[in-house]
């Protein structure tokens, strides 16, 4: 029984050519069961976070008034600067949409986003996943892109009622279609399993990439919105004997320290048309599209 379940739950989507349609309802039941059980599971993660949330609260209580005033002033200044940028962004977005309509393009810049709090990480040294406090009740679906204040953070791979699981961009199973900002070269960036690095895959030795280049999402495949920074090129190795150049990125997102992230909602329609999946093969296929 266990082996049959493991096969259905994990391998079934990967062997799409040999799928038996009669097994589809069972697979759907397993998927629904996982969604239902993920709500009580999220409470376990919330309990595990209590020491950190308590220490944050204690720090807030113990913070002295002058430090809070200084921080408040700084935040107000930052907010003012960012509201200016947001106003500019709104104007640019509408202008961009108009121009794209004129060009007959259906692609639009992403609009809605839901702010979510990270409340736990999957305790497995082989995978990089975190839990956020928004689920299907908030309109979250599988495959939505997640960003933090600095750049692309990951994607939703499992949705419960009130919580979801996010696969970080640095996970070994994660791949994202990207573009080098300076030259427009399109590539695939894969995770390494380390929180501090990503690798660009199959980069020709002669590619025009230098250390310090900004790499951003290309929007290909429809899973991630276009133009979000993914990372900065931190090392290049293209010595003799190598078939491809090895290009390493330092992720822009604060994967270790981000407390809040944004789930980009407007990709939903695109994702419904894509293969629904949280396994390596389907993600790689989507990335390669």
């Amino acid at each position: 029984m266990s082996f049959a379940l493991i096969y259905l739950d994990a391998f079934w989507k990967q062997t799409r050519d040999n799928q038996d349609p009669s097994l589809l309802p069972i697979y759907q039941i397993l998927k629904d069961a996982r969604a239902v059980l993920s709500t009580p599971a999220s409470y376990i993660y919330a309990l595990a976070e209590i020491p950190y949330t308590t220490s944050d609260s204690v720090q807030d209580l113990a913070a002295d008034r002058s430090a809070l005033n200084a921080e408040n002033k700084q935040l107000k200044a930052t907010l003012l600067m960012q509201s200016l940028q947001v106003q500019r962004y709104a104007a640019l977005k509408s202008e961009n949409d108009r121009l794209r309509e004129l060009l007959g393009s259906r692609k639009k810049l992403p609009g809605n986003a839901v702010i979510a709090e990270i409340f736990g990480a999957v305790p497995n040294p082989y995978t990089r996943q975190v839990f956020i406090d928004k689920g299907s009740d908030d309109g979250i679906v599988d495959g939505l892109g997640v960003v933090d204040a600095q750049g692309l953070f990951g994607q939703i791979v499992s949705v419960g009622k009130t919580s979801s699981r996010v696969l970080l961009v640095v996970d070994r199973d994660h791949a994202v279609p990207v573009r080098v900002n300076r030259t427009g070269t399109r590539l695939i960036a894969g995770g390494t399993g380390e929180n501090t690095s990503l690798l660009l895959e199959n980069v020709p030795i002669s590619a025009d990439i230098v250390v310090g280049d900004l790499v951003e999402t290309s929007g290909f495949g429809g899973r991630f919105p276009d133009g979000y920074p993914l990372g900065v090129v931190s090392a290049i190795s293209n010595g003799s004997g190598l078939t491809y150049a090895q290009v390493e990125l330092r992720p822009s997102a604060q994967l270790n320290s981000s407390g809040h992230v944004l789930v980009i909602m407007s990709q939903r329609q695109n994702n419904n048309a894509l293969i629904d999946g949280d396994n390596q093969s389907s993600r790689r296929e989507i990335a390669a599209q």
């Binding site: 049959a4 379940l5 599971a41 376990i44 305790p123 497995n124 082989y126 995978t127 990089r128 499992s158």
Partner: protein
Amino acid sequence: MNSGLSIVLTLSVLLSFVLAVARLPGETVTGLSYLRPQWILLILFFYCQQLPYRRGVFFVLLFGSSRHSDDQTTYRRGVIFIWFFGFFADVVLNEPFGLNGAIFASIAFFTWRFHQRHQMQSTVQQAMMVFLIVFLAEVFRAFVMHFVADQPWDILPLTTALSSAILWPFFSRLLLRLIGPGSN
């Protein structure tokens, strides 16, 4: 089963899940996670060993009913229930359905089958048994995860088994004190 014991049982099972997912400060995941003991397997092994006459121990957890029977039906129900209980662990630990059920049910079957022998063993012998059980369970988990998620082989089964075995004497003594005398 008295209500005090039920509370300790429920809280200790809950705490084992919390400890199994608790992250260490500083980083999301650090190298120290290799030394994380298998709290859930330890708690399962302990209660299966110490409360063998209540084979529906997880029934008691859920329904509060007292089962003193030693018959095969209750025995089978206990194993089946623990197998289902593994589903929850699968979701918590983000593993394919059925994996933890197979591990839990195997450990419960083995421990109940030989509980009298286990109870006669010294603490060191029990710790060695814990090492063996956790190591085999983790090798099985690593084997499945290797095929399912392309997870690399490394020393994780060995390190978790070692830390679980080292922890066992303290863990069992503390829990024995909590569940009180006369429970076994």
